[in-house]
């Protein structure tokens, strides 16, 4: 067991840190959460800067440890989040790299890396929820095209996306996991309507997408027809893998700020609150160590991240909510003021036990796939 880094890794960290120190002060002001075109431009501009500096590939090519360092340093320096490029860089991109043809990779991957094209995720449907395979959006063949009709929901960045990684049902008679295909749908196609959805935090974070006989070339299918569920599992394993590294670093920073605020406003004298903060310090230190453990394991096995991601997500999503609950205790009455720091974060933290598979679904995954308990009710 070793927690030290190699000379090359230390050098990568030092170079990255130096570069961040130089470029971050040159960034424009961050646009407001409701300004989607502004957010797209800002996020893509940042991706372009990373690309030009040689960091554009870091999510794909670099070793897991190098990625860990990248995410740790960018978060510590306060660099922009991956933002509108999230799906392209972390879901669709890796899936295309693993499952796409040479032609598909050449067509779609470079624009993602350069920040030229934005992807969104058309997986969830209004009536399916966590039962992802219960999707009803249908696609049938017409010559060289699929014709797609149905609707998707919780589609982040749909308003400004160029492409959508879309799950469609291509065989309605097959068992529900077997009749699905994975398509790259151009968001400019005729028949697509995007309706933004306002979240409980007040901002329009995602959208509902209606598809009315949208034509998608058959050549845009990734993997075989009706083999989309397997491709989807590849996508989801990326989603649940190392996606939270930067967030754990951010939570540890927030925790330190909370302690300072508590001392400033006198709440630090409350031993119950102080001990809660101490316990959260233990929690996030441990989550960081678990991240390092998982990254080392991924590096040793040299493959796609495994179901261990579910263990991490279960614990992290609850810890994040606890963190902002304690923040509310530190703030007191100000915790009801949306202008105060941490109040919006508290609201948005509520999505963590729901998004990307609810905690209940994740517990089923852990129980059945890791512990070997029988499937059932």
């Amino acid at each position: 067991m070793d927690l030290s880094y190699t000379a090359e890794e230390d050098e990568f960290r030092a170079r990255l840190r130096e570069w961040l120190g130089k470029v971050l002060p040159t960034l424009p002001v961050k646009p407001s959460p409701d300004d989607w075109p502004g957010r797209r431009a800002y996020d893509c501009g940042w991706q372009r800067m990373l690309y030009d500096a040689g960091y554009g590939h870091v999510h794909w090519d670099a070793s897991p440890t190098t990625r860990l360092i990248f995410l740790e340093e960018t978060e510590k320096a306060g660099a922009p989040y991956v933002g509108a490029n999230f799906v392209g860089l972390l879901h669709a991109g890796p899936t295309l790299a693993a499952e796409g043809t040479a032609e598909q990779r050449e067509r779609w991957l470079p624009p993602v890396l350069r920040g030229d094209e934005v992807w969104c995720q058309g997986f969830s449907e209004p009536d399916a929820g966590s039962d992802l395979a219960a999707l009803r959006t249908r696609a049938w063949r017409d010559g060289d095209d699929y014709v797609v009709s149905g609707s998707k929901i919780w589609t982040s960045h749909a308003e400004v996306a160029d492409w959508c990684e879309l799950l469609v049902r291509t065989d309605a008679d097959a068992p529900k996991h077997r009749g699905i295909s994975w398509l790259a749908m151009p968001m400019s196609a005729a028949g697509i309507t995007v309706r933004p959805l306002r979240t409980l935090a007040g901002s329009a974070e995602f959208a509902e997408v209606f598809l009315d006989e949208v034509r998608v070339p058959v050549g845009n299918r990734v993997g075989d027809e009706n083999d989309g569920w397997r491709v989807t599992m590849v996508t989801l394993s990326f989603e649940r893998g190392t996606a939270f590294v930067g967030e754990v670093v951010a939570c540890r920073r927030v925790l330190g700020e909370l302690a300072v605020e508590a001392r400033r406003n006198g709440r630090w004298d409350d031993p119950v609150l102080r001990r809660q903060l101490g316990r959260l310090n233990a929690e996030f230190r441990a989550l960081w160590r678990l991240t390092q453990w998982n990254v080392s394991e991924a590096e040793a096995s040299g493959g796609v991240p495994g179901v261990g991601g579910s263990v991490f997500k279960l614990r992290y999503s609850h810890a994040r909510q606890e963190l902002y609950d304690v923040a509310a205790d530190v703030l007191g009455p100000d915790s009801l003021d949306l202008e105060r720091a941490w109040v919006l974060d508290r609201l948005s933290s509520l999505s963590y036990t729901i998004a990307a598979g609810t905690s209940q679904i994740q517990q089923n995954i852990v129980a059945e796939r890791i512990l070997g308990l029988p499937k059932g009710r």
């Binding site: 067991m1 070793d2 927690l3 030290s4 880094y5 190699t6 890794e9 440890t65 860990l68 925790l255 330190g256 700020e257 909370l258 302690a259 300072v260 001392r263 102080r274 001990r275 903060l277 101490g278 316990r279 310090n281 233990a282 929690e283 230190r285 441990a286 989550l287 160590r289 678990l290 390092q292 453990w293 990254v295 080392s296 394991e297 590096e299 040793a300 261990g308 263990v311 279960l314 614990r315 209940q360 994740q362 517990q363 089923n364 852990v366 129980a367 059945e368 890791i370 512990l371 070997g372 308990l373 029988p374 499937k375 059932g376 009710r377």
Partner: protein, 297 residues
């Protein structure tokens, strides 16, 4: 960074596992059988078994080779104590380990060493040596039938290494009770199917594993860094994993779990005893709170 067990560390763990009975059905019950009437009087320590632990290197492993040890470090000690915790091995394991090289005979298991830790001393009557002494010790009727306890009036300071090794024992217990719960959930049938098919039971087991994995990362990392704040964090998560895990294991076992015949209660009671070592959770939480301000300054 390669935060995974090395081949040598795996081999060490497996060797200890073989000896303390983790892989054999004797396991816990072999040890418990040495105390046939746990409610009547204090248990005796099996000196032969204690010397066996000494031969295995449990007490001497961190001593230099010239002093008769194996010259290993905290990570190896943590792996060994995790196994001891898993197998519910009784005795003043941590105190004797820490006395190796200081008290003659401790390293080999010839001498049994007890120590005051906070306000409690474990195995006082069976010990040959007590550190730093136990003036005014009063016997308690211990909740754990396999850990006799005395209370001392003046609380003693705790060595962070003792806290870390205790956390490792708790981790072993957490892994053991998770395994027992899963095993029972897989085999016990009710309403025509294994109870593990029911989500309510499934989720108890899943949360138990999540606590084990989080605690494991914290304990192993603390062993690598040896940092007191890391150790405090490790102990909080390991205590939680052991105590909550044992309680959930008991719940999964249902009525059977509430009987003396089921071993679940022994794991729970040991976890409770260990959770009082090193000043308890309050001390660790305060240390971690202070660390937040120290880092922000």
């Amino acid at each position: 960074m390669r935060f995974q067990l090395t081949d040598d560390q795996r081999a060490l763990r497996d060797a200890v596992r073989g000896v303390v009975g983790r892989s054999s059905s004797a396991g816990v019950w072999g040890l418990v059988a040495q105390f046939p009437a746990p409610l009547k009087g204090a248990p005796r320590l099996d000196r032969g078994f204690w010397r066996g632990l000494g031969e295995l290197g449990v007490f001497s492993l961190r001593l230099a080779e010239v002093d008769g040890g194996a010259g290993l470090g905290l990570p190896e000690a943590v792996l060994v104590f995790e196994e001891l915790g898993w197998a519910l091995v009784p005795g003043p394991l941590v105190a004797t380990h820490l006395a190796a090289g200081v008290v003659p005979g401790a390293a080999t298991g010839e001498t049994v060493v007890a120590a005051a830790d906070g306000s409690l001393v474990e195995w006082l009557d069976e010990a040959d040596v007590v550190l730093p002494g136990a003036e005014g010790a009063v016997a308690l009727r211990s909740v754990d039938p396999l850990t006799p306890l005395h209370r001392v009036p003046a609380p003693a300071r705790t060595d962070p290494v003792a806290v870390l090794l205790t956390a490792a024992e708790q981790l072993g217990t957490a892994a053991r009770v998770c395994g027992l719960a899963v095993q029972h959930a897989r085999t016990r049938e009710q309403f025509g199917q294994p109870i593990g098919a029911f989500q309510a039971v499934k989720h108890l087991c899943a949360q138990s594993l999540v606590r084990v994995e989080v605690a494991r990362a914290a304990v192993y990392a603390a062993a690598v860094t040896g940092d007191v704040v890391d150790i405090a964090a490790a102990r909080l998560l390991a205590d939680e994993a052991a105590v909550r895990g044992a309680l959930d294991c008991l719940q999964v076992h249902g009525g059977m779990g509430f009987t003396w015949e089921s071993e679940v209660h022994l794991h729970l009671k040991r976890a409770w005893v260990r959770a009082r070592r090193g000043g308890g959770n309050t001390e660790s939480e305060e240390l971690l709170a202070a660390d937040l301000l120290a880092r922000a300054a």
